[in-house]
């Protein structure tokens, strides 16, 4: 019931994608990552919405737009528990969690200024790992430095 109420706070869309369960503080980051401010489609978003699971959450709805895995991978870096819901003619046709891939290529900048990827024309490549506390980390394939989530910057 709760979910329905929150969804009603943001207008329903006929066709397109709903991204639910975004951490409230990451909504604008997801917005930026997906370059939604440049979209010519209708985009709705809400933040600090009630969520049974997460307390507060963010949600974005984009009309007439479906995402490729390369784009959803990017979301998983800042919203690892986000749910992607594809809507066609008001019906949910696909629903699934975003999935963090084992490797992230070409979309994140290495935080090490001395890394070859920041000094030569080299596409970045990171392995997705976890530290002993279970925190997600990115391991640069080139300079072998481990980057924490707060240092992630998209290209």
């Amino acid at each position: 019931m709760n979910t329905k109420r929150t969804e009603l706070k943001v207008s329903a869309i006929r066709n397109g994608t709903v991204i639910d369960h975004i951490p409230a503080e990451s909504v604008f980051q997801v917005f930026k990552i997906l370059n939604l401010d440049a979209s010519d489609k209708q985009v709705y978003f809400g933040t600090n919405l009630e969520s049974k699971k997460y307390g507060k959450k963010g949600l974005i709805k984009i009309s007439d737009t479906y995402f490729k895995p390369r784009e959803t991978n990017k979301i998983a870096l800042v919203a690892p528990n986000a749910t992607l819901i594809e809507i066609k003619d008001y019906d949910v046709v696909r629903k699934g969690k975003v999935r963090l891939p084992h490797q992230i290529d070409g979309i994140v900048k290495c935080f090490n200024p001395k890394c070859v990827t920041n000094n030569q024309k080299v596409s970045t490549s990171f392995l997705v790992t976890q530290d002993h506390k279970g925190e997600m980390k990115l391991f640069c394939k080139y300079c072998e430095k481990t980057m924490a989530k707060e240092n992630i910057e998209f290209i």
């Binding site: 090490n112 001395k114 890394c115 070859v116 990827t117 000094n119 030569q120 024309k121 080299v122 530290d131 002993h132 640069c140 394939k141 080139y142 300079c143 072998e144 430095k145 481990t146």
Partner: protein, 306 residues
């Protein structure tokens, strides 16, 4: 004995399995017994040093000469086309037309991995910035095995700059394959990073941390000294406090085990007093000589000659 290492670059010590490491050490032993082996024939080794290095470059070049090979290359970026703005990729692709193997040192972290991706011939990383220096790691392992008769379960004390020192990080990673007890001596501001400690924990091994050098001398099989570099300290006053904290003097070795050896990747500044040099436990100059045998072994194995 044809090697499985043939044709493959060596970029990071973690590229090698325990078996690969042991194979290189065994071949190095052969070269120590008989260093002058004319096996390279007319092969050409490119030595590309984008930043100056005395020990590593000369030791590689000496290894090639002992093996009867030829060397082309440069000893600093100033005398290369980099000065004209050439990309690393272009330099590597060009030089790979002129040689059978490339030895490269470059100040950028990760430059060696990148070079190995674009190069049609194998690359040996002779140091990529603050990242990796795998031939140093192999010569350290060789020196440990040679002086202790084994690599397994040694007590190794590492002293000095454990935060930024790439040699100690790689050596810890490699020794985790063999089992070891690690004793880390450093100022609080230069402690071993947690990522390296995680590697030790994951290997089911133990480490201990100290701030006094005297605490570890009696329990170490290997005392691995490193230089504390002033430029690492954000506050010059902090550096002044610790710069003379770890100076090994000959008298301190009295309480050490009979089998103990002192290693240092060199260059040293003042962290080992010169009166230690004549002590039979001082091993750092032999350690540097072992670097030639290790580099001979790598060149021979990668070119499929051993």
């Amino acid at each position: 004995m044809m090697s499985t290492l043939k044709g493959h670059s060596l970029i990071s010590i973690t590229d090698y399995s325990k078996e690969d490491i042991l194979k290189i050490l065994d071949i190095a032993e052969e070269f120590e017994a008989d260093p002058r082996q004319n096996i390279l024939g007319n092969r050409v080794i490119a030595s590309l040093f984008f930043e100056p290095s005395t020990r590593t470059r000369l030791s590689f070049e000496s290894a090639v000469q002992y093996l009867g090979g030829r060397i082309i290359g440069f000893a600093s970026a100033d005398t290369s086309s980099v000065k004209k703005g050439e990309s690393l990729k272009d330099t590597i692709l060009t030089v790979s037309n002129y040689s059978d193997l490339i030895v490269m040192r470059n100040p950028l972290d990760g430059s060696a991995r990148y070079a190995s991706e674009v190069s049609p011939i194998p690359i040996i990383n002779a140091g990529d910035g603050a990242n990796q220096h795998p031939t140093q790691c192999l010569l350290d392992l060789y020196s440990i095995r040679k002086t202790q008769g084994r690599l397994e379960n040694i007590d190794i004390a590492m002293v000095g700059d454990l935060k930024y020192g790439r040699t100690v990080h790689s050596l810890v990673q490699a020794l985790c394959l063999f089992g070891a007890r690690f004793h880390f001596v450093s100022p609080d501001s230069l402690k071993m990073p947690s990522s390296v400690k995680t590697v030790i924990k994951n290997a089911g091994l133990e480490y201990y941390q100290y701030t006094e050098l005297s605490d570890v001398i009696s329990l170490a099989d290997i005392l691995y000294m490193t230089r504390i570099q002033g430029e690492r300290f954000p506050d010059p006053l902090e550096y002044e406090k610790v710069k003379n904290a770890y100076i090994l003097e000959n008298a301190m070795l009295e309480q050490s085990k009979d089998n103990m050896k002192v290693l240092h990747p060199l260059p040293r500044v003042n962290e080992i007093a010169e009166d230690v040099d004549d002590n039979p436990k001082a091993y750092y100059f032999q350690q540097a000589r072992n670097g030639v045998y290790i580099r001979q072994a790598l060149i021979a194995a990668i070119l499929g000659l051993k």
